[in-house]
Symmetry: C2
Subunit: 325 residues, 2 copies
């Protein structure tokens, strides 16, 4: 069953008591670089440091109480894990996160800090899905997929509802909305929300160069895959391919996808530091990079940028400041 | 004439079309460090990267139109300069900022970037006040002082109105509100706003250790001065003494002042980076430092922190991340 805007609106009601309504930020210095007005939606300020809390809360809160009480499970070493873990913690239900044994210690600690039980597996000798299926069966846990899941898409779409209202308040009714894109949960959710609530705003996915499965899929009219999964600093948004649920939504609503090289994502991180006082991770900065450094690929007097996350290692961020700022 | 809450409310009306209503942020990790709920008001996300835009806009917008049209002047190499410059630019009136010739090039460029004419003077051979007075007389400019100025205090107080509403929405009616404090414009403005709109919230100034003129003045019941003006990384909030207008307000409304060593301000910057995805400057982090690392000096189940600014040099910030995170 396809996701509809009604499900996004229902998710917004469930999220209302807890979600952070992130502001819409700007800087005359960024406007000057881009040659147009740049409005930035900083989802790095969302609970757990990324938009993923929206989808996590939407999914956990949508479960029937008896099912929810048994707990949830997710496979992730990143932002989705933290979003699901914290949503479960706030609901007072267990969360199990399955991560590879070689995941960075900090990510494990953060996920545990948000209240989850982390189960580690060996990538070489163990099968993640088998471990997860066994745990889920044994404890009655519900699997929450990172993007190809209606309630997750609905939760991410609440960001689009806020953009629609905030852009209108800024007098912007026609603009591209650039969205950092992995599997397409955020992009497709925002696109659905804008279709109803701000039809002059058009969601466009932005990916790292060389990992532009969504842009190629949109161009080809069918799901295309990335050749490889490693090799970009924007690892948080590298996924094999758009989802079975997210792709048809993007195909219907999203204009051509964009891709930026890693170097421009890092440069955009430095710009966000200096001009917006925001911490962005590389994968959360690709949309800003496109707006600032590929202005010829965007039309109109204004552009809206979703800065999707800020979970970046301090040492890596320090390198960006030394080299890029 | 003393500043009243009515002037803060009037300033809020003038600010409404432009000011950024900064959110109230939190992290379970910070709560755990502090041993209580920590709510952070990130004024680093305000226009120009600090709360100073509030006072700048309030002062510029309060001038009679014919006076305003001739322009404004300020002495500052820091956040007040940028706040006044941008407020004047948005009003379409000239701003002259008088800065020492040895001010960092980046600060000069930023102030010019916000639309001001920067006039440099030689600290050794020229008198700042003479230069300013001559320019003001010649061009009919209005001087906007950084804190001891009713319309500036009223503007900073709008931050307190937002805190009152946001704390209530979070269910917090009794708490200390820790405010990074230089001359006391922000602290006294917030204190006045809270007195009327959230009487269970108590503003308390936080300063760098060794430069705690406000805390000593509050303890002594009369204005005390700092022995020196240099030697803290928190340079943005080092002032000679509280103001003639700000001190009586703080004496009436603010509980004992706090002071934290530079090392804890830097540690709080790292915590804000990791847990809130915010860029703070050292002087904008002292209140968070007190909340996190001096919890015994605060009472209650929750503490509110004003993170007042984020205008920090990238290289200095990189050092903080390498050493403190």
């Amino acid at each position: 069953m396809p996701v509809t805007v009604a499900e996004i609106e229902a998710a917004a009601e469930r999220l209302a008591p807890v979600v952070r309504r992130t502001p819409l930020l700007s800087s005359p210095f960024l406007d000057e670089i881009a040659g147009r007005r740049v409005l930035v939606k900083p989802e790095c300020l969302q609970h757990t440091g990324s938009f993923k809390f929206r989808g996590g809360w939407s999914a956990v809160s949508a479960l029937p109480p008896d099912v929810r009480a048994r707990g949830v499970i997710a496979f992730s070493s990143g932002n989705h894990a933290q979003g699901v873990a914290y949503a479960a913690k706030l609901h007072g239900v267990p969360a199990v996160i399955v991560m590879p044994r070689d995941a960075p210690r900090l990510k494990v600690a953060n996920t545990e800090g948000f209240g989850a039980e982390v189960v580690l597996y060996d990538r070489e000798t163990e099968d993640r899905d088998e471990i997860g299926a066994a745990l889920a069966a044994e404890r009655g846990l519900t699997l929450i997929k990172p993007f190809d899941e209606p309630m997750v898409i609905a939760g991410q779409g609440t960001c689009g509802l806020e953009i629609a209202a905030q852009a209108a308040a800024c007098g912007v009714s026609e603009a591209d909305v650039l969205v950092c894109c992995g599997g397409g949960g955020l992009t497709s959710g925002i696109a659905l929300a804008l279709e109803r609530h701000a039809p002059g705003l058009r969601a466009r996915p932005v990916e790292p160069e060389g990992f532009d499965d969504v842009a190629r899929s949109l161009a080809a009219g069918r799901i295309e895959r990335n050749d490889r999964m490693a090799g970009s600093v924007c690892d948080a948004i590298v996924t094999p391919s758009p989802g079975e649920l997210t792709f048809p939504i993007m195909q219907r609503l999203c204009r051509p996808g964009l891709a930026v090289p890693d170097a421009l994502a890092l440069k955009a991180m430095a710009a966000a530091f200096v001009r917006l006082k925001l911490v962005l991770e590389p994968g959360g900065a690709v949309a800003l990079a496109a707006a600032l450094y590929r202005p010829e690929t965007v039309a109109g007097d204004a552009v809206i940028v979703v800065a999707s996350g800020g979970n970046v290692d301090p040492a890596a961020f320090a390198d960006v400041l030394r080299e890029g700022a």
